[in-house]
Symmetry: C2
Subunit: 140 residues, 2 copies
DNA sequence: GGTAAGCCTGTACCTGGGTACCGGATGCAA
DNA sequence: TTGCATCCGGTACCCAGGTACAGGCTTACC
């Protein structure tokens, strides 16, 4: 273990807040690093890459709990877990896009009709009273 | 004003929680209703319709602050405000959909490559090291 | 060895949109 | 008039993903 990094160095290199490192440690995303004699954390250099992976996984739509899970199982042995979760996540995204598309459609109607009030619209054929979009199914 | 409604009646008819009514009052979405001699709220019957409008606007992607604003300006006089905000909201939605589409694309790569670990993927040509999606521009 | 920058723990706070609980007061019907 | 359902205000809590602050210790450099 050469060139262990201090909290501030890891944070700067990974572009995250120092508090975030401790938060991730509490959440189980980062394993507890060794400490200096005085109690300061000393991180292995690949922690920076790990943080990049975490951020990428977050960007892919995984929650921190899911990322912690994936890191945990993936560290021990290869599993089809990641692939399965990615498939689920794609389904979630498709549902979300469909929902946004429906909302977008209603908004364009509002724009095209020149609506001027939520409650007292004076435009002819106002779409607003019909803007009762169905609540999307909760994927949870 | 005939048949004023009590809190619980409005809540049941509109399908919202009683606490939500008081919350909306605090947030300025509902004007303070008259009170009974004992201090209980007595709502005009069209409050139920107003709540439906609020819920619809929320579904269209407007925050409660924006809805409060829209209700406020739209109540006083017709304005192009709603239309303008709807146009902005469509742009936000388009950005969000584009972002989700990029994420979806990376996820399909993960699925197709049969990735089995976030950090130690054994699949050939693993896309994960390249899964550093750009952070989307903050529309705020 | 001095001193400033950095790090420690613990706790509180932030956003947005609500929800829950408490002790006490009211409303309404029999 | 009694009894139960409902409502009152105030405060605290929920979710996720962090961020901030206070008061005290450590490390690094001159």
């Amino acid at each position: 273990m050469r060139a262990a990094l201090r909290t501030g160095e890891v944070a700067a290199l990974a572009g995250v807040n120092i508090q975030t490192l401790r938060y991730y440690e509490r959440r189980g995303l980062l394993t507890e690093p060794i400490r200096s004699t005085g109690g300061h954390r000393l991180y292995p250099p690949d922690t920076v890459a790990l943080l990049t992976v975490i951020k990428a996984a977050q960007r892919l739509g995984f929650t921190l709990d899911e990322v912690a899970d994936l890191l945990d199982t993936g560290r021990r042995h290869p599993t089809p877990d990641l692939r399965r979760r990615a498939i689920d996540k794609i389904a979630e995204i498709d549902a979300r896009i469909a929902d946004l598309t429906a909302i977008r459609h209603t908004l364009t109607e509002v724009v095209e009709a020149h609506c001027d009030s939520l409650t007292n619209c004076t435009c002819p054929d106002c779409p607003l009273p019909f803007a009762t979009l169905a609540v999307p199914a909760d994927p949870a």
